[in-house]
Symmetry: C2
Subunit: 121 residues, 2 copies
């Protein structure tokens, strides 16, 4: 149940990135979420995370993202996921891996902690 | 309680890195831990994580690490931490930020998911 709900949020995340709908992306995070992008400080809250994604999308020319969950553990209203993301950029492809800590708030699973780095060769 | 126990494990981690005691570092991870270093694949289990740390320590000339917890949330036997690490290298200093998912196993808090990236300027 929770597993499919979280998968559905990941599909929404992908779709929102594809459409450049950063309000929708930001809405998938908790009010007190933290995102930890490489080479930058911790970014707190949906408004700042929206700005982060706008900046990232522009900098790398982000066209598409596909999230693949490698591991998902659920403990009550907290879950943590390990995954890989395949990015389509204007300049080609890139691969990152990530850990997301999820929280269920008001019946909705939301990204609460989001950190990623390059997958490498 | 759990907060101070987790802090104590972080102090042990720092001490073990400082002494180059990679067996001790590896012993702080769960049997099914995953570490996600930048520019590399997911590394699974204490034996492989020990190798990872040996390789990282040699590559970057790691002398000392100081972990600073920015946020720690505990939910039963799972906890998740956001923090920053100040690294002392042979070549100077470096700063990374991290997310660690902790699991309490047999009464001991252990690193279960460990991912980090550069803090940047």
């Amino acid at each position: 149940m929770s597993q499919s709900e979280i998968a559905a949020v990941n599909r929404t995340f992908e779709d929102a990135v594809r459409k450049g709908d950063l309000d929708r992306v930001a809405s998938l995070y908790t009010a007190d979420a933290m995102a930890l992008p490489p080479d930058g400080p911790v970014v707190k809250g949906p408004a700042n995370i929206k700005q982060l994604w706008a900046s990232v999308a522009q900098q790398i020319g982000l066209k598409d993202v596909r999230l693949q969950t490698l591991d998902l553990q659920i403990a009550g209203d907290t879950a943590y996921e390990v995954g890989e993301a395949a990015l389509t950029l204007e300049s080609g492809a890139a691969a990152v891996k990530y850990v997301v800590v999820w929280q269920k708030r008001d019946g909705q699973w939301r990204l609460h902690r989001d950190i990623w780095n390059a997958k490498g060769a």
